[in-house]
């Protein structure tokens, strides 16, 4: 028997040329991409006024701020904060529900298997895309101009910006649905509305319900910030306390947001399991 050192590397090299002798272009592609990516990064850092001295000054400032945040303390404003948190949750729930209600019929128009004509679908899709391209905060500013400051503007902002996201997601869910049920309804003489009601909706409703629940969860996060521009909820309190440098209250508010988001995560996770079954989620 020969030892492992007897292995004929030359023969193996000859047999697998693409493993041992990769062309230089293939070997250099990845490092070249990484170098290019970091070159742009360095250019960006210079262009955006990053200087080490500013960074360190800011970091030490940040250290002071974090020290002043301890311990988190709401002072005497706890009732106000709890009310603001309730407002935030209300904004998220109402905004998401409104968005889902309006997005469902529109998403049917954007689905390939419901509206086969590309010319009809195209404007609907671009419309949804444009709404999605605008951030929730911008919608909040627009609605504040319309209905004035306060949580109601927040509800409308979340509703509009989610309308775009839901329209896309729902139409994808509808396109993924099985056509056989729809054909069955058509074969038995059902109208187009019957096809949607009895063929499509039973298939897609659980999927949609899961997505809506997921969005309520993520909207709790969005709703916490739209107060920064004046659209109500806990973001308003947070922005105010940051502006007046009440760091203990700031850290308390951040903790409240974290706890609220975790609670909503937990509840909506449970509900999602209940609606679409454990296997479909995992």
């Amino acid at each position: 028997m020969t030892g492992p050192q007897e292995i004929d590397t030359a023969r193996i090299r000859a047999r697998y040329p693409d493993v041992f002798d990769r062309p230089a272009s293939a070997r250099l592609a990845m490092p070249a991409m990484i170098v290019a990516a970091f070159a742009i990064l360095v250019y960006g850092l210079v262009d955006l006024d990053f200087s080490p001295s500013r960074l360190f000054a800011g970091l030490s400032q940040l250290g002071w701020i974090s020290l002043m945040m301890i311990p988190p303390d709401p002072g005497s404003s706890l009732p106000i904060y709890l009310k603001a948190l309730g407002e935030t949750l209300s904004i998220a729930l109402l905004g998401t529900t409104l968005a889902a209600v309006f997005a469902l019929p529109v998403s049917l128009l954007a689905a390939r298997n419901v509206v086969p004509s590309k010319i009809l679908r195209f404007p609907v899709r671009r419309f949804l895309d444009s709404i999605r391209g605008v951030d929730t905060l911008i919608w909040a500013l627009v609605w504040i101009n319309v209905v004035g400051l306060g949580p109601f503007a927040g509800v409308l902002a979340i509703a509009v910006s989610d309308f775009g996201a839901f329209g896309k997601l729902f139409s994808e869910a509808i396109e993924g649905a099985d056509q056989k049920q729809v054909e069955g309804i058509r074969a038995s003489g059902g109208s187009a509305l019957h096809e949607i009601r009895f063929g499509l909706l039973p298939q897609v409703l659980p999927v949609i319900a899961g997505q809506v629940l997921y969005f309520i969860e993520s909207n709790t996060r969005s709703a916490t910030i739209i107060g920064i521009v004046g659209a109500g909820g806990i973001g308003l309190q947070l922005a105010e306390q940051i502006r007046v440098l009440e760091w203990q209250k700031v850290s308390f508010l951040i903790l409240m947001i974290l706890v609220a988001v975790a609670a909503i995560d937990f509840i909506s996770g449970k509900l999602r399991f209940a609606i679409i079954g454990r296997r479909a989620v995992a």
Binding site: F50, G58, Q61, G133, I138, L141, V142, P151, F152, R221
Partner: protein, 294 residues
């Protein structure tokens, strides 16, 4: 050949019918109960959010007319009749837009780099110790649950006004979000190569470098591109709190009622987001396509 449909005797049929009706009734009751609870929650929320339908109806005209106004020039004409006048500030806006893109690029790359460094510690199958894993996971969770703009608000005070605060805020948020996604990819990776490399006596770092990284890079790149797309949108509003980019111009235009400027800036933002979406989508397709070929 004919198939006979067997008809059950009346008694048996009644029993089955009763069982069926009972089952349906129970389901309907549960559905109804759920609907009632949901409706109750909605009513509570409507009170909490100070929903006022009368305000909405009286001012809904405002919403329509707002779009009417932002699409009208000072001269009273529609914006598209005089594009030169409408987009009068395009040089400045393009510069701000470039800054927004740069903010999201730098933020995403820094975030992705940190996420890359941390995700092996957070993944269940590669983490060197459960303690470290717990700490890193909580850290990532914190970074992604606190909204980016809240970080931006705090950083503006620590680092001063300007894009630096925006970049750092986006970097932290991206670290949290990407760290979680990356570690999920690692958890799905095949562990056999790792065992192979460990059996040669390699260190933990070599195991990661030669056994895990080659499996996961395509997935990482795909998620990082997706994050870049999201961050462009996020960076477009960073200016609202003074953290740089086009948002600064937009918030000024909205607050000072420079109507046609609002639509012009919104147009440039939407177009940019479209272009980024399409480009990253194409890039992602190429990356995954390459992966599928090998």
């Amino acid at each position: 050949m004919t198939v006979a449909v067997s008809i059950l005797p009346e008694q048996q049929l009644d029993a089955l019918n009763a069982a069926y009706n009972q089952a349906v009734a129970r389901r309907r009751l549960r559905l109804l109960l759920g609907a009632v609870i949901f409706a109750g929650a909605l009513v509570l929320a409507a009170i909490g959010a100070e929903v006022n339908l009368r305000t909405l109806f009286t001012y809904f005209g405002n919403f329509i007319s707002y779009f009417d106004r932002i699409l009208t020039l000072d001269s009273g004409q529609r914006v598209w009749t005089d594009v030169g006048e409408w987009l009068w500030g395009w040089r400045k806006w393009l510069k701000m837009l470039g800054e927004t893109l740069l903010i999201s690029y730098v933020g995403t790359l820094i975030g992705a780099t940190f996420a890359f460094a941390l995700n092996f510690l957070a993944a269940e199958n590669t983490s060197p110790s459960p303690w470290l894993r717990f700490v890193v996971r909580r850290l990532l969770e914190f970074a992604r649950t606190v909204p980016g703009i809240v970080f931006a608000l705090i950083f503006v005070i620590a680092f001063g006004l300007g894009p630096m605060a925006g970049v750092l805020a986006i970097a932290i948020h991206s670290t949290g979000a990407l760290g979680k996604l990356f570690s999920e990819i690692v958890e799905n990776a095949d562990m056999k190569p790792v065992e192979g490399i460990r059996s040669t006596g390699a260190s933990w770092l070599s195991c990661m470098r030669f056994a895990v990284v080659p499996q996961v890079t395509a997935g990482y790149a795909s998620y990082a591109l997706l994050r870049f797309e999201i961050n462009v949108r996020e960076a477009s509003v960073m200016g609202f709190v003074g953290a740089g980019g086009i948002g600064q111009e937009l918030v000024v235009a909205i607050r000072k009622f420079y109507y046609s400027d609002v639509s012009a800036i919104l147009l440039t933002i939407i177009l940019t987001v479209f272009i980024i979406d399409i480009t990253t989508g194409w890039l992602r397709g190429r990356l995954f396509g390459k992966e599928a070929r090998t």
